[in-house]
């Protein structure tokens, strides 16, 4: 098996990787650390699924930081195709170049050599590298393919080819192969089932909301100035909100926002007033906000 060492200080065990991730402020549990470790060692893409706001995207950012690699992000959307993900030719510049050649030839009275013109048009300087090509050309790099479930099936098939070969072929230029394959993290919110063929080539990681203790830790490590008491109160309240059958239960990202908002309004601890004032940071639906506002007392009672 082709074992790559993307950085001189590649971690030797999941525990070591977890410790390294911790220094960046990302707290990984056993499963997550093992998953990331295997992704590095086995050179397989890591397929992360889970509720929104459980740290899928943050994992890629933390990994890039640990490996000292550049994070290259590809945000998927409906109708995304190779020209947005891989490369594109800069047509306006090519056209200008062509006109310039013609003008020069007109002055000299020489004839244009079609072959030479074409090869000068399809030159690397007219190539616009999109995220995937950039990740293949950059070493070391972490390629984050965000919300793959939003892209179409055809795009998955295309990704499959790139992710297994770590190379792309540009007809006019030839093959571009990665010296060291990038670390690939795919995320999905499960709006659609991603094809099995793609999942088979990946490590599958399901991310859940963290428990209260870990959430307090996350809040404290992400927001260094946050008082411990406030962190505990926010984590406990967020935990209760997740069980309250809301339309959109808050993720970790929301509780971070909430804690930050509380800090900004100068709240020393979470009470009915400060909670009501900052509820917009954690609940994003009117129905949810109405329901919770009526029950703030019981939510905050510990």
């Amino acid at each position: 098996m082709n074992i790559c060492a993307p950085s001189p200080s590649a971690p030797a065990s999941p525990a070591e990787l977890a410790a390294a991730l911790r220094t960046t402020g990302y707290l990984a549990d056993d499963g997550l650390a093992t998953a990331a470790f295997l992704a590095l060692k086995m050179n397989r893409p890591l397929f992360c699924e889970g509720e929104p706001g459980t740290g899928k995207t943050a994992l890629a950012q933390a990994l890039a930081q640990v490996l000292g690699a550049e994070l290259i992000r590809l945000q998927c959307h409906e109708g995304i195709d190779a020209s947005q993900a891989l490369y594109d030719w800069d047509f306006p510049r090519q056209l200008l170049h062509l006109r310039a050649l013609e003008a020069a030839a007109g002055v000299d009275g020489a004839r244009l050599d079609a072959q030479a013109v074409e090869s000068s048009l399809y030159d690397r300087r007219f190539l616009l590298a999109r995220p995937i090509l950039r990740a293949l050309q950059t070493t070391p790099s972490v390629l984050l393919i965000d919300e793959i479930d939003r892209a179409d099936d055809e795009f998955e098939a295309f990704l499959l080819e790139v992710l297994t070969e770590h190379a792309v072929t540009i007809p006019e230029l030839g093959e571009v192969r990665a010296k060291t394959p990038p670390v690939v993290v795919l995320t999905s919110n499960r709006t659609r089932e991603v094809h099995d063929a793609l999942k088979r080539r990946c490590l599958y990681l399901w991310l859940d909301h963290p428990d209260i203790a870990r959430e307090i830790e996350i809040l404290r490590s992400r927001l260094p100035g946050l008082p411990e008491r406030l962190a505990a109160e926010v984590a406990a309240a967020a935990h209760k909100l997740r069980k309250a059958e809301l339309i959109k239960p808050p993720g970790v990202a929301e509780s971070l926002d909430w804690a930050r908002a509380l800090q900004l309004v100068g709240a020393r601890h979470l009470d009915v007033d400060s909670a009501a004032a900052t509820l917009g940071a954690v609940l994003k639906y009117r129905e949810d906000a109405d329901r919770v506002r009526d029950q703030l007392d019981s939510l905050l009672a510990s």
Partner: protein, 376 residues
């Protein structure tokens, strides 16, 4: 999480492969390359650590959140010493569902055999009458005939404008194609090539109520769903509603209708049970709809609107759903009958949020439904 097992000199591979076989038996689709990945993962980890073995397997052998519970149970049974580790495992498969009355042609029903020859004699006119017969009152022979009629339906999916473009006479200029054609003419721009948005199939979601009161129709409706799914497997999702929500799209994607229905029947745990429409709908919206499955989709609910719980929850959920969907259609098998009035608690709560309320008791009405869906 798990106690460390003592290291042994024995080759661990047969035991690990045995575990994957058990996992396959428990319903997790484990393929050979996944097993290879599992062994590869353990190669870089510590095979004597149960935590690492657990995660190596979970990361390489599972592909779906539903797999994780099965994986946990199988792992526990295979590796935890208190159950005799590695020798025995309890069967994780769900118990077989009771024989589905509506799925099987019942031979007990009187008069079935005598009517068959008549039907064959009058096949042409029979098909026409059958199109209007109530699906819940068919004889076995008619049921068989209906299957063949369903199989030849060719439902066209609804379409929407895509972000992609394709060459067209009108529309915006396509710089790439224009440049390439200019190149062929010594760099002279003679013609502007244009492109426009192409059409793509719009998503369709079928929600079939399989509670007791819908039992006479469930077989025909699921067969109908199978035809629709097979026609455009990538854009149609099917769920059943009862006391809980079950996704059966994967089962219905199989080509053979009987196999597809058999597997779907096995997947549905609440066949012919009670109805908690509101809760099942909420589960659908929370787990699928809001994230994308129902967004700008045509959602069709097949139900008679009998709701065991109060209608308030159902109304709330339909309000949510109607805000997500492109078109919300309710198909009620009883709506086509004489003297029908939408008075059941569920349907009254639903009415304000529906785009269409259609009958669905016969083949003819289902064909009309297909037209509504196509033109949505």
């Amino acid at each position: 999480m798990y106690p460390e097992t003592p290291a042994t000199d024995a080759d661990p591979v047969p035991g690990l492969v045995g575990f994957t076989a058990v996992l396959r038996g428990a319903g997790v689709p484990v393929t050979t390359d996944r097993v290879a990945a599992f062994l590869g993962a353990l190669d870089t980890l510590d095979v004597t650590s149960q935590v690492q073995t657990y995660w190596a397997g979970r990361l390489t052998l599972c592909a779906d959140p539903d797999d994780i519970a099965r994986y946990d149970a199988a792992f526990d049974a295979w590796f935890s010493p208190r159950r005799g580790g590695g020798t025995r495992i309890s069967d994780q498969r769900r118990p077989r569902p009771p024989t589905l009355a509506a799925l099987m042609p019942s031979t007990e029903r009187g008069g079935g055999d005598q009517q068959a020859p008549e039907l064959i004699r009058a096949a042409a006119s029979g098909a026409e009458t059958l199109r209007h017969r109530d699906l819940g009152e068919l004889t076995p022979a008619e049921r068989d005939h209906l299957r063949r009629l369903l199989a030849v339906l060719r439902p066209d999916p609804p379409t929407r404008a895509s972000r992609r473009r394709r060459a067209a006479r009108h529309g915006e200029i396509d710089p790439g194609v224009t440049l390439r054609s200019a190149l062929r003419n010594q760099g002279e721009l003679r013609e502007l090539h244009r492109r426009e948005r192409s059409r793509r199939p719009r998503k369709v979601v079928l929600l079939v109520d399989v509670s007791g009161s819908m039992e006479p129709y469930a077989d025909a409706l699921l067969r109908f769903a199978h035809v629709v799914v097979r026609r455009s497997p990538r854009s149609v999702e099917t769920f059943t509603l009862g006391t809980r929500l079950t996704r059966i799209t994967r089962e219905l994607r199989q080509r053979d209708p009987d196999r597809a229905l058999h597997d779907a029947g096995k997947a549905i745990p609440d066949w012919s049970g009670g109805t908690r429409l509101g809760e099942a709908l909420r589960a659908f919206i929370d787990r699928w709809g809001q994230r994308g499955a129902a967004r700008r989709a045509v959602v069709v609910i097949f139900s008679d609107g009998w709701e065991r719980a109060g209608p308030d929850l159902l109304g709330q959920q339909l309000e949510r759903l109607s805000r997500l969907t492109h078109r919300l259609v309710w198909v009620n098998p009883h709506a086509g009958k004489d003297g029908y009035a939408p008075v059941q608690g569920g349907i009254v709560a639903a009415l304000p949020y529906l785009d269409d309320l259609l009958a669905g008791h016969s083949l003819a009405t289902l064909e009309r439904l297909l037209k509504v869906v196509r033109d949505a």
